[in-house]
């Protein structure tokens, strides 16, 4: 083939094509490469192929070629790697590299495909999927909580009725003590019934030990992010994540722990609702404690927990929200304790709330 014919074949290719020698000197590129990288062909030819790669791939390139030659070459090498445009931006690329046989000095031909669109599609699909799973899970949690709320409301309603009835009976100038006795006995029985419902709830939350698996904190936080970031956007709140590099592995029911953290984030989002949107900020941080435990904290810069409920916020039905079930923090605490961990609260500085979930590392759980 003539040089023109080769150029015509290269230009017809959809992928970017680059021909270079063992020193990295670019011999020829095609039109697709010009478009993909933003370089005109004449400025690339004679230059080094390294300028198409960002660091650290750029510095490693010469070593890679030398290694290829030392190992006697290869029919084809294919891998994903980042690529660098003329304007300094990078994009995910798929490179397949072939050695031109018989050329002296050795020549290589590279085909480069831009993966940006595919990545975006994959990411969207992943996020959508994660969101759907989470929505389904939340719906079940919501139904469960609604069911429990209904059941607990029954004895509560009865207790309130009996108490007020007793009061009215006693207000009479000649109270019928038999009626009062009946009411008071019934109050005691109904209170025990409410207690039994709460015990059942605890068993329900605890009873999923078989759903536990070893997981990294990163995987857990990624699952959390897919939902939490969307919720934060809707609430015009900045939500940041920062994990220390040495996070231990966990042995947990991932769904429950994600639920727990989501619950803390939702509390934070709600507490920030009255603040100006430009100030609202939540930070989720992960670190490994001195004792090797995993510590995940949710910190906001809102008004903080009202002092009058500080002592009681982990008790059921203490909600300060108009539509709260009063079960969010108690259930979070129950989930944490079921995993031999804990949730505790500290006031934020200078303001805000700071909730810390501590979980033991996977190797401590047998």
């Amino acid at each position: 083939m003539s040089v023109q014919q080769i150029q015509a074949v290269m230009d017809a290719a959809v992928d970017a094509v680059v021909l270079f020698d063992l020193t990295g000197r670019v011999e020829a590129v095609n039109r697709a490469l010009e478009r993909m990288f933003g370089w005109p062909a004449q400025q690339l030819c004679g230059g080094n192929v390294r300028q198409l790669m960002p660091e650290p791939e750029r510095s490693a390139h010469d070593g890679c070629i030398a290694k290829l030659l030392r190992t006697g070459g290869l029919p084809i090498l294919a891998r994903e790697l980042p690529a660098l445009r003329r304007d300094g931006s990078t994009f995910p690329a798929y490179l397949s590299l072939g050695q031109v046989t018989g050329a002296d000095p050795s020549q290589f031909i590279g085909f480069i495909r831009d993966l940006t669109d595919r990545r975006r599609g994959e990411e969207n699909a992943r996020q959508l999927n994660g969101r759907l799973v989470q929505v389904a899970r939340l719906a079940t949690m919501g139904e469960m909580v609604a069911g429990i709320a209904h059941e607990i409301n029954q004895p509560l309603t009865a207790i309130a009725n009996y108490a007020r009835a007793s009061e009215r009976f006693l207000e009479s100038p000649t109270p019928d003590l038999a009626d009062v006795r009946e009411a008071v006995q019934a109050v005691a029985a109904e209170a025990l019934r409410a207690g039994e419902i709460v015990r059942r709830l605890r068993r329900m939350v605890r009873g999923s030990a078989e759903a536990r698996q070893t997981t990294t904190v990163q995987a857990l936080v990624e699952e959390l992010q897919s939902v939490a970031l969307a919720d934060a956007r809707v609430n015009h709140t900045r939500l940041g994540f920062h994990l220390a590099p040495d996070m231990p592995q966990l042995f947990v029911d991932r769904a429950q722990v994600v639920q727990l953290l989501l619950n803390l984030i939702h509390n934070a989002l709600e507490s920030l609702a009255q603040d100006p949107a430009s100030n609202r900020e939540i930070l989720v941080r992960g670190r490994r404690t001195e004792t090797g435990d995993c510590e995940l904290s949710v910190c906001d810069n809102g008004p903080g927990v009202a002092p009058e409920i500080l002592d009681r916020m982990f008790e059921p039905f203490r909600s300060t929200k108009p539509n709260g079930t009063g079960l969010g923090l108690p259930m979070s605490q129950t989930i944490a304790q079921a995993h031999n961990g804990s949730v505790r609260h500290q006031p934020g500085l200078p303001r805000g709330a700071y909730f810390v979930l501590t979980l033991p590392p996977a190797d401590n759980q047998s």
Partner: protein, 204 residues
């Protein structure tokens, strides 16, 4: 005839809630008839019994909403006060659309329940009084002769004696006598009163 005393039916499958409402009502001197299911209530249902119905919206078997529909089919006038749970607002709205008197969310303040029951009882008394009046008017109507009924019909159309006489081919004097009988038999103090009575029972 003396009116029958009203009773408050309390239909709730939850023993504790049902018994506590009964005792609460007893503490303010209101008579209650507790029942554990919609079926039990329907079996004992007596349309002539005045009172009201305090009904749990969510029950196994026949739900409160279904019982309300059954009562509507039977043309019952008993006011229904629904007791709903935390998340039952859509059901409560449906109940209101089907003519429920009111609804209360659990847990409720006792005074709210008592106030609403008092209002429901007042409404029931009113409805029954009106319906008793209507029955009386119908009974009186039945005593009119055919001629008198014709005169009554023309009277309610606003016709003068002269016009009626011409239409019925009677003398004016005869029309006047029929008219006096109608007023007397119907117990009407004035023409306006008579017209009102007839319009009321014809539903206009």
């Amino acid at each position: 005839m003396k009116d029958r005393p009203a009773t408050i039916y309390v239909v709730d499958d939850d023993d504790g809630v049902r018994a506590s409402i009964r005792l609460l009502l007893k503490s303010v001197g209101l008579p209650a008839t507790p029942m554990a299911s919609a079926k039990e209530f329907l079996a004992a249902f007596d349309p002539a019994q005045p009172g009201c119905l305090v009904l749990d919206i969510r029950m196994p078997g026949m739900s409160g909403l279904e019982l309300q529909q059954q009562l509507n089919v039977r043309g019952a006038i008993l006011p229904v006060l629904f007791i709903t749970g935390h998340g039952d607002v859509p059901m409560a709205v449906e109940a209101m659309q089907h003519g429920a008197f009111d609804f209360l969310q659990k847990p409720f303040r006792d005074q709210d329940l008592i106030d609403r029951i008092q209002k429901a009882l007042a409404r029931d008394r009113e409805t029954r009084a009106v319906s008793k009046q209507h029955d009386q008017v119908r009974a009186r109507l039945a005593t009119l002769t055919q001629r008198e009924q014709q005169v009554l019909q023309l009277l309610t159309q606003g016709k003068q004696n002269k016009v009626m006489a011409a239409e019925l081919r009677l003398s004016q004097r005869t029309v006047e006598i029929h008219r006096a009988h109608v007023m007397e038999k119907m117990g009407a103090g004035s023409l306006a009163h008579l017209v009102r009575m007839v319009l009321d029972i014809s539903g206009r």
